[in-house]
Symmetry: C2
Subunit: 415 residues, 2 copies
Amino acid sequence: MTTTLNPRRTIDELKELRALTGDENGAQRVAFTPVWVRTRAWLREKLEALPVEVHTDAAGNLWATLRGESERALLIGGHMDSVPNGGWLDGCLNVLAGLEILRRLNDQYRGRPPVTVRLVDWADEEGARFGKSLFGSSACSGNLDMNEARTLRDKQGVCLPDALLEVGIEFERAKESGVELNHAAAYLELHIEQGPVLLDLDLPLGAVLGTFGVQRHAIVFKGQAAHSGSTPMNRRRDAFLAAGKMAQEIYRIAEKHGGVCTIGSCTTKPGIVTSVVEECRITLDQRHLDGAALAAMLADARAASERFAREGNVQVNWERLWEIAPMPFHPELIDACDVAIEETCGVSHRLPSGPLHDAAEVARAGVPTVMMFVQSLHGISHNKIEDTKEEHLELCVRAFDRLADKTIAWIGGAK
Amino acid sequence: MTTTLNPRRTIDELKELRALTGDENGAQRVAFTPVWVRTRAWLREKLEALPVEVHTDAAGNLWATLRGESERALLIGGHMDSVPNGGWLDGCLNVLAGLEILRRLNDQYRGRPPVTVRLVDWADEEGARFGKSLFGSSACSGNLDMNEARTLRDKQGVCLPDALLEVGIEFERAKESGVELNHAAAYLELHIEQGPVLLDLDLPLGAVLGTFGVQRHAIVFKGQAAHSGSTPMNRRRDAFLAAGKMAQEIYRIAEKHGGVCTIGSCTTKPGIVTSVVEECRITLDQRHLDGAALAAMLADARAASERFAREGNVQVNWERLWEIAPMPFHPELIDACDVAIEETCGVSHRLPSGPLHDAAEVARAGVPTVMMFVQSLHGISHNKIEDTKEEHLELCVRAFDRLADKTIAWIGGAK
């Protein structure tokens, strides 16, 4: 069945891409920049060898379509864009593994597979330049907040619509890309894990259950500035004391509910060595695959912050920064992914995805979706040290290819 | 004895000064600025009514000398400079109460008191512009670190020697001001408390035991940045968690040893909502009147930080920012101060000073020293809301005047 699949070629192409678009600090394929445009040209060259129709949609997503017996389509996706100084696999592994599967299917079915197969390179998954991820896929899914996106600016003050125009994308028409999902029957995405779960289990591959829901808040404790030398300890209204208690409490909350909680930043006012902290602002990021559990984690954190505020005679205020609901993947496709992994390397593991992915947007649009993760050597992403063993890269291409076959069969059966 | 003492006049002069040198945000008498120069001119006008010799020493301290029968001198000091947006009493109450006492002594002794009496307005007590307090008094005491002070710059990049030159002070000669202490037999300073101790005890006045020793450090915890969504809680090396534990621990340490400990600032790197904190830097200010207890507080904090670092698999490094030994005041003058307060308002209280004062520098130079504190209404200083009841202001001038008389007698007895 996979006689012509060549995972080595995928690895060679990843290295070719790294040489073309990376430097000593890592990958530099930031969306809508000249390096990203060059990356896309390179990808189009690779696609020219196949009998696929290639076009860019209204949101700047690149589609390569191999027409099949049915117009019902299997979508395979990824993103060629990276963060600045990014890793060599994040996003492009997905696309290049998909490219290899297109080649295999084209060979096997002599240019006419049972269902239509489409490879998509989503535009600006990372959101590195404008601080807002999943532009292309959320435009396509219809979830993009146009009013918010219209006003986004990069560090140079360039707004998103102007940056898009430079690469030929008309911002106001971005949601017209939604037509691309008209005949979508399933969506598959391979990705490097970006965490240490598979590494700790010493497993090469995992089937992804869905993406975490996220509750993201700023918590501001407000006490009273007071001289560090003249203010008795029992008279203090110390905003940092309350924030410090939260640092430990979030570990208890995460353990109780089985999610993750992170305090990522802390700022203090007046923030001088000779004063008790008057105002302390921390950010809290909470994630869980289950919506009810996520809500319970948030409620616990709120209650704890109010308790600590009372104990320290300070005030506390919460400000919502962002939230997104959990996005569970399709149960039958998760099963198929599990089986494809087991058939390839003997053992599989199911895990949620902490980070968001384009797959979550496609799933949110109602397309049956699943992702496959491959082990990350250091459990680290968005960094030049991101890496995966070559034997694992080969395994992931093989397992993902098996998943494609199973999904084509599943689409056929569901027809 | 105090027939001509007029505390009401002191209050009126304080209000006159407030109108002349403050605005809606508070006092603006920052050292070496035009407002400070105007303040000094105003003070010189007040002194012109007295048969005193007035001059500025090599460090910019202003001295008014009323020659006595003996050249042995009672010094009464304060500082006319304020922080930006400061309180109306901090520093200038001391000087103006001293001025009133000079008037009373001049009247009583017809221009020739038993000992020489000198009023000093120290230059740049606050250190608001160059970040280093006690310039004038530490130059005079000989403790000023010339190499450090020479390189201090304000926010505009102006260095201290250049700023001094603009008001006629030659930096390199500042320590020549030490000659002013040649015949000093005692030093007295009145000050608003800057804390809530007397307020809580509902007492107008207190005798100060000395100034706290200070140990001031930056503590840097270093862990590992990791994605907030993909990193399991038990895999984290969270620098903020360790810092948060310190927030509570310093309260235990302060209680155990009877001093004060303050974490005044906290900064986080990378400091973004989607990453575990890699590096967290906090400042720790510890103060105690007893040197051994101060050393024990420091040792406890170090041990705790190392324990928290081990628990969280992070590293910790300490960096000394500043330190100063405790400076106990003179036991016999503390007794005299206590008695002067009791005679004036029936009850006294002894307390240490958390903040530093010029008095600590004079004491360090070997001059017998004591301070008197008057209650602060909100326990707050360095703020426009700083205030003291007028009846307490009257009491403090009266008690401080009594202390001056007792100290003159003490100097005579010790001769």
